[in-house]
Amino acid sequence: MVSFQDRATELLKDLTGRRNADWRDGQLEAIRTIIEDRANALVVQRTGWGKSAVYLISTRLMRDAGGGPTVIVSPLVALMRNQLAMTHPLSLNAEIVYAANRDEWDRIFEAIQAGDIDLLLISPERLNNQQFRREVMPQLFSNIGLLVIDEVHCISDWGHDFRPDYRRLQQVVASLPPGVPVLGTTATANDRVVADVEEQLGSDLQVYRGTLERESLALQVLDIENKAERMAWLAETIPTLSGSGIVYCLTIHDAERVAEWLRSQGVDAAAYTGPMDNEARLEIEGRLTNGDLDVVVATSALAMGYDNPKIEFVIHFQTPGSAIAYYQQVGRAGRAVDTSFGVALSGWEDTDIQDWFISTAFPNEDDCALVLDRLRDSQDGLRLADIEALVNLRRSRLDSMLKILEVEGAVYKEGSRWRRSAERWAYPTRRIEEVTAARRAEQAAMREYVSTDACLMEFLRRQLDDPGAERCGRCANCAGELFSADVDSTLVELALRHLRKSSLVIEPRKRLPTGIEFDLALKDHQMEPGRCLTRWGDPGLAQLVATGRDVDGRFDDELTAATARLVEEWAPTPAPTWLTWIPSRSAGEVIEDFAVRLADRLGLEAVSALERVRDSRPQKTMQNSFQQAQNVIGSFVVIDRRPGPILLIDDVVDSRWTLTVVAAQLLSAGSSPVYPLALADTSGPGS
């Protein structure tokens, strides 16, 4: 009879395709824990160590012994596809269930019932999905063989990657029939996160934890405060590097702008951000993997999911707020290559953006109390649109608040309606303070990383509580400068110009929020897509907008010139023949003065066409569509007009409701088309 170890080793060879394949320290032991002891295991190992071998081989062994299927909970679709591809050598019949393959669910569900599925990959969101819970999980859990929670650090709200949907996993684990082992895997967990995972998955957890060293990765920090200089540095340095890599930015806008800039400098670059659709992201991942791209400029959306061992450099255009997050991202480099680089460029805006993420991580107490009270008092529960009408919160923040209240057990969802649960709930002030303090400490540690003279890799490994942390001998602090911080001044000038001209499109709002009354139908009175000169908080022109509005009381001539250039480059057709402006509540004549000068430059007639008849509150303080639209309707009347195409000017644009509603009024009065134009976009971080 074949011994357990021989059989497992045979499978390892099949899996890797190498006859001389050998176990990594801890792999076989973890499999033994799952299969022989039927006990829970936590594997904390760097990416590339072979965590998947543990659950793939365990699954094969279990299925061969007549056991039930393995269910893997994985946070990202990209990750699941990689995992799916790896099941072939062991002839495991694997399927993914996620939102985008709904048309295949019935087939998959039938296969589960028939016992034909060896391994099922699902996102944590599935576990919160009512249909999945009702129709699939009872069957699935009745003979589940192994539950794997990938990227298990997401379960801990101490961690940088906390996901509310993961919190529900604790209860799912508690609902498993007795005797089903649970395996958690992650590459990034410090002691505190490990302790939190132990608490949530059960104390009998066997922990397998290995070194986080990356022998081929050399790290450096370059303090280049100015954005344009950092852009110039990238354009100069990336072409000198062999292979492909990733540039990380903290905001979506920066990722897009830096990618655009690099392309303008002849670098094959593509942006990769959260809002991009799945297909587009997969395409970019594919091109990067195939070496068709020099570099992907990404937000943290490209983190856990992307598995490419050939990445040779990871450069941070801005630094994240924690050393763990940084290690996770920079650790994309240097897995199956001999030399690789991880360079952190530290900019003046890093702390501000990090602060924004920290301060908006939790919903505010008053908002929570208000929503809970209204839910409690409602007879039939409330739909999202009903709640939006009650609280001054933007949709995405409201979604995240409800999700947090849901995992906290204060609310639940029945169909499309939210209801207050029977659980008494108090705002977890203390816990939030503790977590916030922990994030502040992480932020401080990251600042220390940027300025330390000590070994950089050792510093990161210590932050992750890696007991084997030691001098790497490769980083800039150990081995001397890898890259110079010097930048070419001509390139800096070009980068500055690029920052100035990267304008933003203002899309018309298409649908009024439910419950808002407006006598004009937006679909019949819709403005054209417009332009916005800058993003609030950016360096360069955006700073001129801020000082012009808030300090000087006059917008600089450079802004009129830049705006005129923007309109000329944009060249909307039919061309506008006149312009008007949104009368400002506080800034008085500043916008009118600007509009008149702009009209002069563009050779258009400036007409004072609008009057403010109600003193609404600043749109910036209105946080969601309902409140914003409500706030602007009835605030302006059209008092004069010309018949032709019109440029409609405002100083800042946030929700676009002011421009959309006023444009509808102008269109209804007979002026068409209406092109909106604003100086600065104040939505998003930095404002």
Partner: protein
């Protein structure tokens, strides 16, 4: 609240969670099964262990073994519903848990429901309350008695324990709330439906109510459920006062009879304006006589089991 494996066995075998149509084990069958398993050196969670030959170990018949086998297959669905309920703020407690009401365990013995579902302040279950029961169609005078008794309970600083049905139950509970008292409501139907109501949610928020049921929280009313519910009321009360009962028929009559015979808890019966045709007979069977709501305190002089317990502690 995490269920132990024994607790999971109780949920799997004795509840109708997970949209089950099939009959689960009665409390009595469950207690007997766990007794025989215990005698054989196994815990209740042995039912999940495929290697344990139940017929051999416990001597139970093939029908029951087959029934247990089917219930075990459904265990996942039942356990998932426990999570679903928790999500709505409904807790699940089993005889194996510390949170299970001690009075029920002691007084009901083999008739104690292995699993109880509830919402709200469990602290209210640690002290014996005043049970107030009676028919749904109570007379105006009977209603007044129910309200007075509830106010007496509040004055004595103990919760009113009642059934959460129309009539006597409702009047007593509302009177208790009206005097800032607390209430333990033992429901015979849909706990899930009950916790959707704004006034119930408000009371839960204020912390002065605890709702319980041994039925699956999504199930509707049945006569059997009402009878099981009555046991719990008597079990949780230092004394239960029957305000008005029919004679030889109806849930109130049957519940009071059973409570007296099986000594689930002290029973008193209202004798005066508003009483029902069965009240006299209940007194004859051994229920204490109550003629003035203010005499309620006298009925409490005999220490209740929980008081005895706290004295021992």
């Amino acid at each position: 609240m995490t269920l132990t494996n024994d607790a999971k066995a109780a949920v799997a075998l004795t509840t109708r969670l997970g949209s089950r149509q099939r009959p689960s084990l009665t409390p009595k069958m469950w207690h007997e099964l766990s007794q025989t398993l215990d005698d054989a050196g196994y815990g209740p969670d042995a039912v999940f262990d495929q290697s344990v030959d139940l017929a051999n170990v416990t001597g139970v018949g093939p029908d029951l073994v087959e029934r247990i086998g089917r219930l075990r297959t459904d265990a996942a669905a039942a356990l998932l519903e426990v999570d679903e309920l928790r999500h709505r703020g409904i807790w699940t407690t089993t005889v194996f848990d510390d949170g299970y009401p001690q009075l029920i365990r002691e007084r009901l013995g083999h008739n104690a429901p292995p699993v109880i579902f509830g919402a709200g302040n469990v602290g209210l279950l640690t002290q014996a309350g005043i049970g107030i029961v009676g028919s749904r169609n109570v007379s105006a005078e009977g209603g007044e008695v129910a309200k007075s008794l509830a106010r007496e309970a509040v004055a004595l600083n103990v919760p009113v324990v009642s059934g959460g049905a129309r009539g006597v139950d409702d009047l007593a509970m509302n009177a208790a709330f009206g005097s800032d008292g607390s209430v333990v409501g033992v429901l015979a139907d849909s706990l899930i439906g009950r916790i959707r109501k704004p006034d119930v949610l408000q009371a839960l928020d204020d912390g002065n109510v605890c709702l319980l049921t041994q039925q699956a929280p999504s199930s509707g009313f049945t006569a059997g459920a009402a009878m099981s519910r009555n046991k719990i009321i008597y079990g949780l009360a230092a004394v239960t006062v029957v305000v008005a009962s029919d004679r030889d028929s109806g849930g109130t009559w049957a519940g009071a009879n059973e409570a007296i015979m099986a000594t689930y808890g002290p029973v008193a019966v209202w004798r005066g304006e508003g009483e029902g045709p069965g009240n006299q007979a209940l007194e004859d069977m051994g229920a204490a006589r109550l003629e003035e709501p203010s005499d309620l305190a006298d009925l409490l002089e005999t220490p209740s089991p929980s008081e005895q317990m706290s004295l021992e502690l």
